[in-house]
Point group: C3
Chain length 315, copies 3
């Protein structure tokens, strides 16, 4: 495994290996000194063409806790202002011989292009409406930490599926792990061919009581240029997850940041069923695991049959 | 002590302990290798919702010289652009289990709110017009390095007291240390109830020759939306500290950045009486001391009766 | 040597020493752990008043691979927004006692001014149309790695010489090393007195077949406020380096980022004659060498007669 571009490329075994590695790093994160020397002297570049707090800081921390040197390039205030093309930027950065480039871009397919231009390992941190694979992995990790085996769990993904790379990656990831996935939203926000990914489609919340997990998507206000919904108010009336719609046995997930009062009501965000903060927590250890697998995986292979046994090097 | 939110919360003894610790770190800063391993593997987050060079870089250096991993979040180019609320941002960042969050915000009370949402130690790096406690601490440190005991010193704080968190924190800090504080400025820039903080109030520079220390405030041009002063020119004529108004026995302080020719004339900025550069220097060691007290204080208590004796761990 | 402000200040011996040091660091960059502890605990400040990806990230990596603590200050989102003058900013930053300040500014002479205000070592990372000495050094390094001795090489520098600090530094650097330099461009983009730097002047590409090295300059679109060229199309027709104009024995250099289809045609950018990616690669090791010479040069002098022998300290 050289790159992490999409969940589509991962076998169930690949996913298991990453989740097991993440578990081992969770022990490191529980210590006061949250650091291992694994990637000391190696360079990780964060190349972000979209604004982001949680994904970029999560990768930054993951790299630093592995002792890598991190260089962060944001679109604003860089040569990107001078009209340098993505390709030239990647060639420039590749000349520094980084171990990995973490790329976020508004364009679907950007991460794969980057991977074709560099010998560094490339991690897709979100490319347009295409995929956001580390989000899906951290969601799996979070859910498994709470529920154990995922086989047979029923997951409803609710909201703006059309504009959501998180939805795409998560449909693929949950089905790969044996979950039954249903997507739900207004017809204008559900892509026509989405069922080909192996999920069911619903246009209302009727029946959501069957779900074990409700995964609400962020309403991407800034991407909603068309008239996809009559109004946020009407959207909320029909699709907002609130205290009435979330049963006590159901778990609630959301990739964040949440629009309070739009896709989620305040009372469910802070309920014990919500895993939202756990998802963020998982982000660091899962991204440590991904960096480890891509950059140091050969050094200390995880015994496939034994799960989370492998110890990271002591700090 | 878990947080540093305001000078109001600090006893004189607390302040003495921080200043003593800062003195011990001044030795580290004097070395070629300006680093101790105290906070190795721990995470400090700089969360700045206002632009800042000196405060943010000073905290950044303080954290790095203590070997912490620093993650810097600026309002621009982050999820803040997507309308994420402060609370959600803090919950996200808290999920990384940082040792400390350093927060600057345009809103008074923001730091206390942050502290109510996180188990990390919170340091107020300026919250609206409320407080800027590390500024006051570094001012005390700087003045004491020059003058020794502060008891009985007469300090005049001159300028835009109304909009100044520095003024508020410094009135509290100087009086706590036994100084006699006078605030001075045009009536439109002096809050009505300011005397309740324990200072005298003057509306002209008459009598400033009695001051041991003249502390000029920055004229916050960008915050002056009302018509507080007829013009900067007239303001300068009445309240600018220049060579005629500053006697040789008086010391001059300013929190920076200075508006040359507004609150201070060029000739006094670079005079030997000016402690302005010393104040900036003190910023790093005082912030190292604050981080140390909050995050590692229990590890190696400073003997209260012995002052600056405690050695930081060798680099 | 305390500062690196311009190539003009460097003797051929100075340049040789830096290039030799860079060669020794190239070994470090070839390792998996690309790091030496040379500048551990010392602070390097990147102070950039112009946007930049490659120069700022290259200095950042150079500093980090020497184990220095790097603080990066960009004009956007800093006190510069509040109208703080360059001098005040430098005085502030100097109070942190940095080992070096790397300054990029739109104003010619800014680096020399900074050096007059601070005791830190100052490195000019580009000051207006004046100089960009580390670019010239990395170009020498790159060319020598490919061609060996530079003595007698014929170098044509083509394009917008008028607005180019790279042109100025490179004319000086190439001539210092014994190359014969010709500058070439439309009369409106060639400064009148440029020949006083020791180069020849041509106003067309006629005769370029004599060149061993073609060094194309970036067409600084954002600086072209006047009517220097009739159109980019006509400029390209007369001065673009393309497959017809570049002979197989000639090498091609460019400081980047390239305007594809303006100063260079796509087919030459990716040709084996192009050293453009090598130039970027060289940036890190040459900047490591410059930092080393300025900050640690006295510690481990390079034997002048032995060239690239000296080993950096092991990681």
């Amino acid at each position: 495994m050289r790159n992490l571009l999409s969940i589509e490329d991962l076998s169930r075994q690949d996913i298991e290996r990453i989740l097991a590695r993440a578990s081992s790093f969770a022990q490191v994160s529980g210590r006061e000194i949250k650091k291992v020397p694994t990637l000391r002297g190696r360079t990780v570049i964060n190349l972000f063409y979209e604004s982001s707090t949680r994904t970029s800081s999560s990768f930054e921390l993951a790299a630093k806790r592995l002792s890598a040197d991190l260089v962060s390039i944001k679109a604003q205030g860089s040569s990107v202002d001078k009209g340098e093309s993505l390709r030239d930027t990647v060639q420039t950065l590749s000349a520094y011989d980084p171990a990995a480039i973490v790329i976020r871009s508004p364009y679907a397919g950007a991460a794969a292009l980057v991977a074709s231009w560099t010998t560094a390992s490339v991690i897709n941190a979100g490319d347009g409406k295409h995929e956001h694979p580390t989000q899906a992995l951290l969601d799996l990790y979070t859910l498994r930490a709470r529920r154990g085996d995922l086989e047979g769990l029923r997951v409803w993904i609710v909201g703006d599926v059309l504009h959501s790379r998180v939805a795409r990656s998560n449909i693929l990831a949950f089905t790969r792990m044996g979950c039954a996935v249903t997507v739900c939203g207004p017809p204008t926000l559900i892509p026509r061919d989405i069922a080909t990914l192996g999920c069911e489609v619903r246009f209302s919340l009727d029946g959501i009581e069957e779900a074990d997990v409700v995964y609400a998507l962020r309403m991407q206000r800034e991407r909603m240029t068309g008239s996809y919904v009559p109004s946020l108010r009407e959207y909320a009336a029909r699709f907002q997850i609130d205290g009435r719609r979330l049963a006590p046995h159901q778990l609630l997930m959301h990739p964040g940041p949440v629009n309070r009062g739009v896709e989620l009501a305040a009372e469910v965000i802070d309920s014990p069923q919500a895993l939202i903060v756990r998802q963020v927590e998982s982000g660091v250890v899962v991204r440590m695991a991904v960096l480890y697998e891509l950059l140091a995986g050969g050094l200390s292979p995880l015994p496939a049959s034994r799960g989370i046994r492998t110890e990271p090097q002591p700090a």
